[in-house]
């Protein structure tokens, strides 16, 4: 059941270049959806359209069957956590958190317990009378979260909320955000450029590029089966080469090597991709078979848990990770085997 | 940018308020009528010619340039070392010293002008020129202390210490290392102090005598006796000068450095 619906959203600042191009996105109730992509892909713009900070040039934005496209930001009742946290420096933690409640003209008797509750949930119970300046980065982050949550928003929007924290705190906070989000069952949209962060926290991920959504799927699906070359590159696929379709699930490289795949596509010309970890290295002299391409090691680098080889083949340079038990030296010839279930067509 | 209609209306009115009086001056400087009129009748450059033919104004202009230039340079020579000492060393009572150096900016100009008039002209019978120069030095000093001081506060003095370890004397290190790194601040403070001195009225008003009258004072005297477009014409010429100065500042430092 769709709860949040973006229909054909188009945003252009100058009337010529579109920041968002007819973007469509449907989010279900209680879901945590991430918008993932490089800077400039339009993910923050999308979030700001949802928040109401940007009015789209075209398209509709619907929440709970109500069209909110022209509803101004302050009437939407969405909680938003900003990248800079945007805490009000002239107000205490309690006053920051109570800001939204006060605007809703809430009574002190109902307001104070609400503030106290959310401060407990976010682990800030002791810090209510401090000013933002007197807090650490992680604490400020929690205040921003508490301030967004206390108004009981229909949607929680998070704009790269963890990017100002150090690595250890970032992992801690994302677990914390996930826990609170689950506990309150609040539908959330999370913007990030960090793939690991995104996969760990999200129910579904929308990978964005150039103002469109390239793929919208579960983290597992995106990690294992990217649908476009852009998505594949963005999530760590390194090797790309062209294939021509010969028959059902059977393809040849430009040099005539036969490759079988578990996926089936209708296009005759395709690009195949595979992660360095998923390629098997076989010593020279192994009997040549389908899904095998010969090559020569150019460079070997030690990665700690494995060796990485840059292998020169007739489909181009291929990066391969091999076990550290057997080290091939540069100049050595070998065979690369591409398992058919790991070979992705995009 | 989202629309904010109320805000833009107020702002546009404010800008109109700031600019329209200037435009009126420009327009009236071309009118043929010997008393100032707006809108003008006819069109003439006579009033501009008249500016150059009015000796008292021309003389004052050159005197003002001279006074402001010497006073500002003097303020730089005295002010830069003082600003350096205040920023670099933890001198006892630094805050008090600093406010003392800035105090000419806090004391009303007419008070400084009058005090100098009493002290220099009446008590010590010194020439007015010296009094005028000293007055302008006093009002220029705070600009130097403030602007140069803030660039010195942003300077990492370890670069000076490195120079010492490499065998530089203190004076040489100051000249070769510190000065080049605060030159933007020095230039900005010079411009500010010069413009302020050139435009100053309250101090100059008290220190004026035969042949020694600063331009703004001359202009004020002129307005009191003749109300004709010569003043408009001179104003336009001075405004053109201001625009040129602003252009130079914008191209070298950026206008933000003096605001």
């Amino acid at each position: 059941m769709t709860y949040v619906d973006l229909k054909d959203i188009r945003v252009s600042y100058d009337g010529k270049n579109n920041i968002l191009k007819d973007l469509n996105l449907s989010i279900e109730k209680g879901e945590l959806v991430s918008l993932l992509g490089p800077s400039g892909c339009g993910k923050t713009t999308t979030l700001r359209v949802i928040a109401g900070l940007i009015e789209p040039n075209d398209g509709d934005f619907v929440v709970d069957n109500k069209n909110l496209t022209r509803v101004p930001v302050h009437k939407r009742n969405f909680g938003m956590v900003f990248q800079s946290y945007a805490l009000f420096p002239h107000l205490t933690v309690k006053e920051n958190v109570g800001f939204g409640l006060k605007l809703r003209k809430e009574d002190k008797t109902t307001m104070n317990p609400k503030i106290q509750d959310i401060l407990e949930v976010t682990g800030l119970a002791e810090l209510g009378d401090r000013y933002p300046k007197q807090l650490s980065g992680g604490q400020r982050q929690r205040v921003a979260l508490a301030r967004a949550l206390v108004i009981e928003p229909k949607l929680l929007l998070l704009d790269e909320p963890l990017s100002n924290l150090d690595a250890k705190l970032r992992v801690q906070m994302r677990i914390e955000i996930k826990r609170i989000q689950r506990k309150l069952g609040i539908t959330s949209v999370f913007v990030t450029h960090d793939q690991e962060e995104c996969f760990s926290i999200s129910d579904r991920v929308a990978v964005m590029n150039n103002g469109i959504i390239e793929q919208f799927d579960t983290p597992e699906e995106i990690y294992n089966r990217p649908k476009t070359e852009f998505v594949a590159r963005f999530i760590g696929f390194e090797n790309f080469f062209n294939l021509t379709k010969q028959g059902e699930k059977t393809y040849t490289t430009s040099e005539g090597h036969m490759l079988k795949t578990s996926q089936s596509w209708d296009d005759t010309k395709l690009v195949a991709t595979i992660r360095p970890d998923d390629i098997n290295i076989l010593p020279k002299g192994t009997e040549q078979d389908t899904n095998m391409i010969p090559g020569k090691v150019v460079v070997r680098t030690f990665l700690g848990k494995s060796y990485q080889y840059e292998v020169e083949t007739n489909v181009g340079k291929i990066l391969v990770n091999g076990p550290k038990e057997t080290a091939y030296s540069s100049g050595e010839e070998l065979l690369l085997q591409f398992p058919e279930e790991k070979l992705i067509l995009v | 940018m989202r629309k904010q209609r109320g805000l833009s209306i107020i702002s546009m009115l404010v800008f109109a308020f700031l600019i329209i009086p200037m435009i009126i001056i420009v327009v009236t400087s071309f009118g043929e009528n010997p008393s100032i009129q707006f809108p003008i009748q006819g069109f003439t450059f006579d009033w501009y010619l008249n500016v150059f033919e009015t000796n008292s104004l021309i003389q004052s202009f050159f005197l003002s340039i001279q006074i402001s230039m010497i006073a500002t340079i003097l303020a730089l020579l005295v002010g830069i070392p003082a600003a350096y000492a205040l920023a670099r060393y933890s001198v006892k009572g630094r805050d008090i010293l600093k406010s003392f150096f800035l105090s000419p900016a806090m004391i009303p100009g007419v008070v400084i002008g009058y005090a100098l008039f009493q002290f220099i002209v009446i008590q010590f019978q010194m020439p007015i020129f010296q009094g005028l120069l000293l007055g302008h030095f006093l009002i220029s000093l705070p600009y130097i202390i403030r602007v140069v001081g803030s660039s010195l506060e942003q300077l990492d003095f370890s670069i000076e210490e490195v120079a010492w370890t490499l065998g530089c004397t203190r004076v040489r290190a100051f000249v070769k290392i510190v000065l080049p790194n605060i030159q933007a601040g020095i230039f900005a403070s010079f411009m500010l102090a010069f413009i302020n001195s050139f435009n100053n009225i309250p101090v100059s008003q008290f220190l004026s005598g035969p042949g020694v009258t600063a331009l703004p004072t001359s202009l004020m005297n002129y307005i009191e006796y003749n109300y004709d477009p010569t003043v408009s014409a001179l104003s336009v010429l001075l405004m053109v000068g201001t625009v040129i100065l602003m252009y130079i500042i914008e191209k070298t430092l950026g206008l933000a450095s003096i605001s």
Binding site: H74, L87, F99 | L7, F17, I107, V110, V111, F119, M239
Partner: protein
Amino acid sequence: MKNKAPFILLTPGLILLIVFMFLPLVTIIWPTFYDGKLTFGSYLSFFQDNYNLSVFWRTLRVSLIVTLICILLGVPTAYYIARTSKKWRGLMMAMSLFPLLTNSVIRSFAWINILGTNGVINDFLMKLGIITEPIKMLYTDSAIVVGSVYLFLPLMIITLVGVIENIDLEMVEAAETLGANRLTAFMKVVLPLSLPGIIVGSILVFSGTLSAYTTPQLLGGNQNMMLSTFLYQNAMTLGNWQSAGVIALIMIVTTIIVMKLFNMIAAKFDKRGGEHA
């Protein structure tokens, strides 16, 4: 060595300031307290004279009104400038700076042209037939107010733009996502955060108006004296050096009190807490 260097560097400035500012000030102020014995008589009689008082109160009143108008017009304008795109912001800043760098005689002269008996406004109204006799606008307190606002509004704007530019726009957006409309967000977030700038700007405008000479001289005339023109008249026209000294000290003390007062207001409102604990 270490102790001598700052001493050498500071001495020339200190000597010049002491000899040519401090001593001259003492020269004009000392006689107001001492005529054979220590006395406050000059000051008591100054404040007992109705005319003197009227000048004193006019100066404070005009300075206060000018400061308030500059806040009212300056805050929205500065907010507008700070939030405009870079290209336009530069132009607007230049438009604010230009009057500031222009001679105050010229700026007051502009208002003589506008407010005078044959000035732009009277001319215009008479041509339209709205009035038959010119209205007296020049040589009034209001003329001084208008001229002073014209003189000091740019100062307020430029001071405030610097402060408002540093307020994170996300702060306003955060307030809006929490349910504040634009006006509320401005009043509850932007205004309190601009307060330090408003205070600094107000000090500049108030003390500037208080000590300005050109505007009251050219737009106020002899009937509407302010302390600065009154000082000049006493010193140079009447040769009453005793009174001039009294006025000088009153101006200095008033300026200091006003600054302290503004800073006290700032301290009272500024409860942003200490540095990072």
